[in-house]
Symmetry: C2
Subunit: 154 residues, 2 copies
């Protein structure tokens, strides 16, 4: 281990750090794929409601089309030396169907998806797996959630 | 525009900033897709040689398999409010075939792909399109390279 690398965090510490990051971060990276196997990647604002994260996209955007098809997302919070990677199923919610969600998203993301032009959708991801690591010494034990269950108590 | 947002950068300034970021950043986000249309996303160290970027992966990793198939990459440098997104074709170079590349990659990435276990490959991406933006006011004009050509002089 290099001398300037912090000791690996415990599972409990990683859980605390992941939840704090989900509360405080504004954007994440969203990967998606077409049915033909073409990859896409964009940064998007998100809302964390304590259990699920929600992004808003145009239904006709690459990410909107891909995730409506896949119904499964892999997203990442950065920076690359403080990584949180989340995978889980995607619910597709037409903007206009849930004003409470739209208002909460607008307050966090800084724009109101109800006021955009064209048809927009919310994509709501419920984490099934969460990985969290900073440096190479944290690659072991990077899974903090598997099958929707935290690997450590709160 | 919000008062604390900097004015949009010119195309020339973005080109300078993109090249500086490619020189100084250590990691980027690599999106990839399987033939079945499943998306993957990981952070990886990279080497920029002035014209191409190189990452090293295990040939059997998800990213290794996906990009060997796709032969096209979409990668992103962050943070999410200082984005550079690069797309381009991928060359697959077995580790061991190019010691100069391996040495340069090791010096930048902090590990030597020749010393890893299993079969590793270098994936070398030549940019065809580059987008660069910080805030919403920079979304117009975010393309700084199209079809391998910078949209502005040096």
């Amino acid at each position: 281990m290099e001398p300037d690398v912090a000791p690996a965090r415990s599972a409990a510490d990683r859980r605390v750090d992941v939840l704090a990051k989900l509360e405080s971060d504004v954007d994440l990276w969203v990967a998606s794929a077409s049915a033909n196997g073409d990859a896409h990647l964009v940064p998007l604002s998100f809302l964390w409601d304590g259990a699920r994260l929600t992004i808003a996209v145009s239904a006709s955007s690459v990410t909107g089309r891909n995730l409506t098809r896949q119904r499964w997302a892999r997203v990442a919070l950065g920076p690359t030396r403080d990584v949180v990677i989340i995978e889980g199923p995607v619910e597709v919610i037409p903007v206009g169907d849930d004003d409470e969600l739209a208002a909460a998203h607008a307050a966090k993301a800084g724009f109101d998806a109800r006021e955009t032009s064209g048809r927009w959708i919310f994509l709501r991801v419920t984490p099934r797996t969460i990985q969290a690591w900073r440096e190479v010494n944290e690659l072991d034990g990077r899974h903090v959630m598997i099958d929707g269950e935290w690997l450590t108590g709160p």
